[in-house]
């Protein structure tokens, strides 16, 4: 059986797949306690499934929509109350009525989504036939309204998270001789971590450079993500017209008011890589978690600067290194460092796992982020990996002491 097509069905499907476990359990438990019923649930009605996303006395999960009572509730705008399901031919044959737990009574309040259409229902079920009084019906409607509010917040947060994801670079940078990948796993729907990359022309027409950025705005969630978006955009803007030191200095000045007003700070690690020579110029604003690694060992690329928004004015001066053709640049956020006990000895111990030359940068960032998430990182987790690859014309050159050519 399929439900009549409606945007509300798509909305319910999207919600069902994004709802964090246990998010709505409290309201459902409240409903169960108030009505003294053995079963209470929030069911979302998708195209051909019912998704039980919160429940007491009934398993969460997905059942075919034809086995659902709430499928009828979502098609009306008032409470559906069925005194005895066994006596109602629409429902007498569904498994929960014909077989265990053999429910008899149903009352469901249709719950709106953002679209204004009903995405699901808050329902209570009993094993004996009963009738709700006027006050009880009002109570059920009140609880349903509470759930609607929660759902609306959830949908807004999901959308904010999508916007933030869509701001991340997805395609390979338009510059020859480099491979790059990055990934963010926010602890909530949106977060304060971000990465970025883009190509600029170095001042004085000195050629194209790949700008690589990893930023971490203090805190988590939507508020941190708003500030992260600002820092990202301001840095992007300034980067086009000046070198790496000055672009960070200007970003610090431009964002100062907003960081101060919100008592936030942002760590920032920004580099410019010339893929032809491997020369890497960078600024480290209190981030501290960038390394260049190879089979020969690793070195940290860090400076003594504090994060943007901290109450001292630094004079930003870039440092320089050279990324050799066999070396890997890895930048992570503190969410990764935390699961390594904030210890560089632990970082070193884990290094061999990502230094297999057969791994792509994509696979490397996946290994790092999955590792952190698996070890129950409570923070946002971000990783970026960069290495030089043979240019289209087959030429890889290097400069400086780290050269192997």
């Amino acid at each position: 059986m399929k439900m009549p097509p409606s945007p509300a069905r798509q909305e319910a499907e999207a919600l069902a797949h994004n709802i964090p476990a246990e998010r709505y359990d409290r309201i459902v438990r409240l409903a169960q306690a108030i009505f003294g019923a053995p079963i209470a649930a929030l069911n979302l009605i998708g195209n051909d499934s019912q998704f039980t996303v919160a429940s007491v006395g009934f398993p969460k999960g997905e059942i075919p929509v034809e086995d659902s009572v709430c499928r009828v509730t979502v098609l009306q705008d008032e409470i559906l109350e069925v005194h005895d399901l066994r006596e109602d031919e629409r429902f007498s044959n569904i498994p929960a009525v014909a077989g265990p737990p053999r429910v008899r009574f149903y009352a469901g309040f249709p719950v709106h989504g953002q679209s204004g259409k009903n995405v699901g229902a808050l329902c209570i079920l009993d094993l004996v036939p009963r009738t709700l009084g006027r006050q009880q019906r009002e109570m059920l409607a009140d609880l349903g309204a509470l759930l609607e509010r929660e759902l609306a917040v959830q949908e807004e947060m999901d959308l904010a998270g999508q916007v933030q994801q869509l701001m991340l670079p997805t395609s390979a940078p338009d510059i020859d001789g480099v491979e790059i990948a990055g990934r963010v796993q926010p602890a909530r729907e949106a977060g304060g971590d971000y990465f970025d990359w883009f190509v600029v022309t170095e001042p004085g027409d000195a050629g194209k450079r790949l700008v690589v950025v990893l930023g971490d705005v203090m805190g988590k969630g939507l508020a941190a993500s708003l500030i992260a978006s600002e820092v990202r955009a301001v840095l992007r803007g300034h980067s086009r017209y000046t070198d790496v030191s000055d672009s960070v200095a200007r970003t610090s000045t431009t964002t100062k008011h907003d960081l101060d007003a919100n008592s936030r700070f942002s760590t920032l690690w920004v580099a410019r890589l010339d893929p032809t020579t491997g020369v890497l110029e960078y600024i480290d604003a209190g981030h501290g978690l960038a390394i260049i690694a190879s089979q020969r060992g690793y070195r940290r690329l860090y400076q003594e600067y504090v994060p943007l928004g901290a109450p001292i004015e630094d004079v930003w001066e870039k440092a320089s290194d050279v990324l050799a053709p066999d070396e890997l640049l890895v930048v992570v956020s503190d969410g990764v460092f935390d699961v390594l006990d904030d210890s560089f000895d632990e970082v070193e111990a884990k290094m061999p796992a990502i230094l297999d030359p057969a791994l792509s940068c994509r696979q490397i960032v996946d290994l790092i982020v999955d590792f952190a998430v698996f070890h129950a990182a409570s923070d946002d987790v971000t990783a970026v990996a960069v290495r030089r690859i043979p240019r289209a014309d087959g030429d890889v050159t290097s400069a400086g002491p780290a050269s192997t050519t």
Binding site: P307, A310, D334, S378
Partner: protein, 110 residues
Amino acid sequence: MSFEEVDQSAYVVLTPEGKFNLVAAPPFKARVDDLVAAGKVRLVVDLHAVDFIDSSGLGVLIGGLKSARQHDGDLRIAASGSQVQAVLKLTNLDRILTPYATIEEACHDW
């Protein structure tokens, strides 16, 4: 997270416990704001019982330090554990928020 507060008249000692993170930070920040507004601008945060701090916790300490300094006071930290010191060092925030070994050292000139 709960935190103890002892008013030594020349300064106030706040002692948070456990994880100083996103959950713990807002009530702590609210208390620091109240103290500063009440003219208690010399604050010592005794961190001996904090085993983990994240960027939200650091943010509150830096925010508290900023507002205390705006009112000619200061916020200082004492007795921080190894994880707290590692995070301060990583972010270079130890340049602003000097970790003192003891409460006595933190308020030596108050």
